[in-house]
């Protein structure tokens, strides 16, 4: 069994507006609240039950935010990739512990719901972008 630090391992690829995957791992430093798979449950408790009972419902859509330092690199930087994505859908691929064979991978289609540039005195210029999962999350490996 192994444990992993984030830096140097976590990889995230997001489709740009042409549909090409862009590795934004060099720019993103936070994913909130994280990415995984989420299932709804439905209460089917009845009179005869001595404890609550549930059945699985539909897979729930997750929403998440990526954040990092603003960078104006053309074509592959976060501003060039994320700004044109707002309101469009593309593939997000998240590799929390790297891309070695067998490492965990999460992949889904997601709508970019916002892209924001922030600047506060004495701080770096930062960006954040929000996504809404659309459809199923595929949990697999590299």
């Amino acid at each position: 069994m192994a444990k992993f630090r984030v830096a140097g391992n976590t990889v995230i690829n997001i489709d740009d507006f042409t549909g090409g995957a862009r590795n934004l791992s060099s720019y993103i430093d936070t994913i909130t609240p994280g990415l995984g798979k989420q299932q709804a449950v439905l209460d089917v408790t009845a009179f005869a039950d001595s404890a609550e009972r549930f059945i699985a419902g539909i897979e729930e859509s997750q929403s998440w935010t990526v954040q990092g330092h603003f960078d104006d690199t053309a074509s592959t930087g976060p501003d060039a990739v994320l700004a044109p994505l707002v309101g469009t859908s593309g593939t997000t691929q998240f590799n929390p512990v790297g891309t070695a064979s067998g490492a965990r991978q999460f992949q889904c289609e997601a709508i970019c719901t916002f892209y924001r540039i922030t600047g506060a005195v004495k701080e770096r210029v930062s960006f954040e972008a929000g996504f809404q999962q659309d459809g199923t999350m595929t949990v697999g490996t590299n």
Binding site: D72, A83, C112, T113, R116, T118, R124, V125, Q133, G135
Partner: protein, 245 residues
């Protein structure tokens, strides 16, 4: 190309430059989504709908001629002269977001033993246009009569349509001052493609241009026309779309 410290940010609005008293700002490109999940879906499904872009601003209260206080006095609630330009970097080619916007709120929070603060809220009335700037201090000086600037951008790359955003911050003008935008496929066949009239200090202008064949060449100029008075304009010019990739 690279990363930026917050002192690289610039904000111009209606020809005012309140950036010197800014402590924080956030520009947002936002899309609403609607749930279109149906019985046949294994997972929740969504569709994007309206753009709902945002801008927030906070700073230190300043009573200068370029301040947010002066700008709000002139522009609060206005739908004219209401272009806002948000630049990351000051050099030619810096990323510039621009668009028309309405200021909805301005307030001055006060707390004992602290500086008087300033806050403003805005409602963009178009999606933010991502483009690039020609530098923070595009200067044009022309003698009596029509004048021609030096070339702003001389690349041979072409792009279809463009939106130009000009912030005129200072200068002395004649009653008939206008800005004319020109394009050229080569260095010698300049043609006028759009004119913005009524240019004066504290003016912001948005002009849409298209070439005769549906494309606009990136080789561009900006010419000032006046009614006989020698004028100088200082301001910020940006253009979207951004550099073709």
């Amino acid at each position: 190309m690279g990363k930026f410290y917050s002192n690289a940010l610039r904000l111009y609005w209606g020809g005012f430059n309140p950036g010197t008293a800014t402590t924080s700002a956030a520009l947002g490109l936002v899309s609403a989504v609607v749930d279109d999940t149906s019985w046949g879906d294994e997972a929740e499904s969504f569709t994007p709908t309206l753009r709902q872009d945002t801008l927030t601003w906070a700073g230190i209260f300043d009573d200068g001629s370029d301040s947010m206080d002066a700008a709000a006095t002139a522009l609060l609630g206005s739908s004219t002269n209401n272009v806002l330009s948000f630049l990351v970097g000051t050099g030619t080619g810096s990323i510039a977001y621009a668009g028309t916007i309405i200021q909805t709120v301005v307030r001055a929070p006060v707390t004992f033993n602290e500086l008087v603060r300033h806050e403003a809220e805005f409602q963009p009335d178009q999606p933010w246009d991502r483009g690039f700037s020609y530098g923070e201090a595009t200067s044009i000086t022309t003698a009596t009569g029509s004048g021609t600037t030096g070339t702003i951008d001389n690349s041979a790359i072409s792009t279809a349509t463009a939106a130009w955003y000009l912030q005129v911050t200072t200068g002395s003008f004649g009653a008939g001052t206008a800005i004319v935008y020109l394009q050229a496929a080569t260095t010698s066949d300049w043609i006028d493609i759009a004119t913005a009239g009524g240019i004066n200090a504290r003016t912001s202008v948005r002009v849409l241009t298209t070439g005769s064949a549906g494309t606009i060449h990136r080789r561009t100029r900006m010419r000032v026309e006046n009614d006989g008075t020698s004028i100088t304009i200082a301001g910020v010019l940006s253009r979207s779309p951004s550099s073709p990739t």
